[in-house]
Point group: C2
Chain length 577, copies 2
């Protein structure tokens, strides 16, 4: 895997950030492509190793066929196609839904607060969605694999709080400026697609071997993945603070117990992040892999933060477990069932060397159904595109409205009910000073009524945690999931466009007639994949929304019933006259 | 009753307002002192009759003894006393509670909105307390008694709307500028007190005759009025638009049916206003006479306005009926039971000639208990002063909080619930477009849930009319009542101060030792009156607040129970999975 690259622009390393200074025209060797965040690790001619922005270089050679590469030369694919593909990518894949422009990370679970309508910080303490999403945490995964158990910058420092730890983290993210952020989408997320498009797969000479095959069956609802008999599940629990370097550095380790082995394994957030990057690389072209919950950005109570992160890691893991393709993948199984550190490290290295990533995932898929007509493929794609866009709008609307409701329930409403309560109690205490006989029959009841309204105020403030929270979390998760679809659909559209041009390409001898047949067959496979994935999405969506709406309404009923009961009791304190 | 007056300052009549232009130094004859609003009716030497501001003239002679007068000369009361009394009046009686400074009318039912905290117009349509109280309606009662059935300016004009009619009215009120407003308190409200203080009664030679005597008994709670066996009540109903002058002018006539005769009489607002002025003149020094509901200030729906005014006239009449002294008075009985127009006119003239007004009402009161020690008198007075001040603060707090709650319930809250409802419905309709099998089990339920939240929004908007309205009306009424106490208590304090000086006055031969004994006896009578009135107030207050709190809580219970029931139904639409 010796990968040479030409440096396109001068880049000066920032001290202390593991970066490598390079000059335009210099040739460097890429030593690690899986850094993420728009960075690669490279070695210069003097043997110095460090990080370089991916878009500052042009990779010039590779020894792998049908793997993720940046240079197209090895594949004998006409430049005419590649250039167009790049354009398609730029117009479709990069940011097809303009409403998401404000969100450079493309699908973070937590950045809906950047919606200008819903965002008002300052009262964020009680609102877990109020102050997140400044910068995207998993954009930067780490300087290399060798410091696996050493680097601490994605956890917390033992010096206390998160601010320090995060400012270091933020600094790392800022390297390369705006480039790094846009690169994350255009280069890093779908490395096989972004530079060269779906034709890598459409025209690939050699497909994956039989043992890795992923079948798609025709179910009642249409194409479906092959589901296991018992669904994998896992419990994320028991966060523990660990420390190293004689206590100088500390981190949180979570215990993850899969339902299959019932044997817990420990993982830190950075391991989840590593898993996320692997899944994104491997399945991202075909399966929306939602982002992990954001890292802590600014100081909050440690316990509250850890609880919230654990809850969201649980949600993320549950979603991954539910996916038949993801949950049965080797890398996911490794994460859940590694035996010891050695096992984990070996598995990690193997996963990082996996070549069936990017669009090549489609080469492993085998639909057990006749090939689809390209027109139908396109119709399905359009339909999914419309639906996911519309659902994204709907989900964002709920998040905005919910955010405002949260603010009202925890801010002005309790204050108002408390003021009503105080006003009743104050008047009651004035009445008590009248010296008039028999006053207490009124004043005792009025004081009770006042206290009841104070309690109701408190109830309003506490209610969102009991119901709105889950509605928000579910919609937040779906916002993250939906944020992955534009890229997935973009790969699909690019493939369709390529197939549409097949006749022209054959006529101008740019591809063979056999290539055209292969492309049509493969785009059909891609469509089955998309359909299977959409059906998986729909089935999960119906389950999730059914569950969360029921939970929400149940808690709301209890809430209003409790208020009514409290008021009825207060009413009973008054004597009929 | 020929009353001559010297004009102190030039005054130029405003055309069309029944005013009389007078010059400094001119002598005029006062033809009607009971105009109100700081105006008197006078005739100049050329026989022209019109209105002149009361504080532009100095009355120079009178032929009545122990009646309401402006000049003290006739009473042989030393100037030293009178001057001090005037000072006491200025410091105590005029505006003893600084919090009321913003309210020059001293006790309007409806001007709490001038509280800067609670006032935000613009959303006033749904809030009956939002846009009232610009100017004080009863400040100007009319140009004279002879146009009783003719003048229309306190009702509405048939040309439609209130704006025109009210601008004329407002113009009338503005005549004389700030003087007119302050005079309403200092001169008009307690004519017997303001110019000469409670010594009119304390040193009066001759008390009222036996048939008018008002006894005070010692009850369980202390001094109490003599209550009738069956309490008078009346129903104000059936507002009818009448018109005169061939339809050029229109007015609203209300039907008032007393429980005693069960025979309805008709009255216009201006008649209520006349009654109010009579009761204020006659009883105001001893009994708080709350202001009538304000006149309409700016345009509102005619029906809504009439309904609201009727409801408040009913409240005012009920309170007057409940008062044993007021309800049994000749003028109040006349109002409720006059037989025909002739009867009414004769009764009116008689009432206007009543000489037992102002502080002289105390001359009719006969406590059946031993005289009180002046120290105790003072303690009681202090206690009532503290209580009414504290209650006034408490009531205003409830009004402010209630006003804000009203705004929230009719403004942002329904909007928010409706947005939540819409968001659910929108997402549901997106789901419906998925084309996925079995979608409708979720979407039907979600749409229902959405509609439920829209309904809840509507419920929030409508609720204040059902409960908060009555809580506000009751507190509003009490604010008006409490606004009368500073004057009542002021009379009392001035009398106490006078008695305290008795020894000094005897020593300097300004009063006789017998005068001193008389004064102490009479201040004891005043204290019994105040105590009877406070006990009446307490008993009514306990009844009123008990009733309104029960009503409020009852409706609140129903409200939250209905919400819970609606949500429970919406919850039932979801299928358990």
């Amino acid at each position: 895997m010796a990968l040479k690259a030409q440096v396109l622009y001068d880049f000066t390393a920032e001290p202390g950030n593991n970066e490598l200074t390079v000059k335009e025209g210099e040739t460097i060797t890429v030593t690690n492509q899986n850094i993420g965040g728009g960075w690669i690790e490279a070695q210069n001619s003097r043997g110095e190793v460090g990080l370089v922005p991916e878009d500052y270089i042009e990779v010039s050679s590779t020894d792998a066929q049908c793997m993720v590469v940046i240079s197209p030369q090895t594949f004998h694919i006409p430049h005419s196609i590649l250039n167009e593909a790049t354009e398609t990518d730029a117009s479709n894949g990069n940011d097809p839904w303009s409403v998401w422009n404000a969100d450079p990370s493309g699908g973070s679970n937590n950045n809906w607060a950047s919606n200008p309508e819903g965002t008002q910080t300052g009262k964020a303490a009680a609102d877990p969605w109020g102050s997140v999403a400044q910068g995207h945490p998993q954009a930067y995964q780490g300087p290399g694999e060798d410091d696996e158990w050493d680097d601490e910058w994605d956890d917390m420092k033992s010096t206390g709080g998160y601010a320090e730890s995060e400012s270091g983290d933020g600094g790392a993210m800022q390297r390369g400026g705006a480039h790094a952020t846009s690169m994350k989408i255009s280069l890093n997320k779908f490395p096989g697609f972004s530079k060269s498009g779906p034709e890598l797969y459409l025209l690939c000479k050699q497909l994956a071997k039989g043992k890795d095959k992923l079948p798609i069956y025709m179910g009642e609802v249409g194409p479906v993945w092959s589901y296991p008999e018992t669904q994998l599940d896992c419990v994320v629990a028991d966060p523990k603070k660990g420390s190293k370097m004689y206590g100088l550095k500390s981190y949180i380790e979570y215990q993850i117990t899969p339902s299959t082995t019932n044997r817990p394994v420990n993982h830190r957030y950075k391991h989840f992040d590593w898993l996320y990057e692997r899944l994104l690389d491997k399945f991202g072209s075909a399966i929306p892999i939602p982002s992990l919950p954001d890292k802590q950005v600014t100081g909050r109570f440690e316990e509250e933060f850890i609880k919230m992160r654990m809850e969201r890691l649980q949600g993320w893991m549950t979603r991954m477990c539910r996916h038949p393709v993801v949950s049965s993948s080797e890398v996911f199984q490794l994460f859940l069932t590694y035996k010891d550190e050695k096992d984990w490290k070996m598995g990690k290295r193997k996963a990082e060397k996996d070549e069936t990533v990017g669009v090549m995932i489609f080469s492993t898929i085998e639909p057990e159904a006749p090939d689809l007509d390209p027109v139908e493929v396109e119709q399905k794609c359009e339909q999914f595109s419309r639906f996911t866009k519309a659902m994204d709008d709907g989900v964002k609307e709920i998040l905005t409205v919910g955010h405002e409701h949260w603010k009202r329930c925890t801010g002005p409403l309790p204050k108002e009910y408390q003021r009503i309560g105080k006003a009743f109690q104050n008047l009651s205490s004035v009445f008590n000073s009248s010296g008039y006989q028999g006053e207490s029959t009124l004043t005792d009841a009025m004081t009770e009524a006042g206290k009841t309204y104070e309690e109701i105020g408190q109830m309003f403030a506490e209610q969102p945690k009991k119901d709105l929270h889950f509605l928000m979390e579910t919609n937040n998760e779906y916002k993250g999931l939906l944020g992955c679809f534009p890229d997935t659909i973009g790969v699909h559209k690019a493939a369709i466009d390529k197939v549409k041009e097949a006749d022209k390409l054959v006529a101008t001898s740019k591809i063979t007639p056999q290539d055209k047949v292969t492309m049509a067959k493969r785009v059909s496979t891609m469509s089955y994949t998309l359909q299977a994935e959409m059906n998986h999405f729909h089935s999960n969506r119906i389950y999730d929304y059914n569950r969360v709406m029921q939970l929400y309404l149940e808690e709301q009923v209890k809430f209003y019933e409790t208020i009514a009961a409290k008021l009825r009791q207060a009413h009973g304190q008054f004597t009929t006259m």
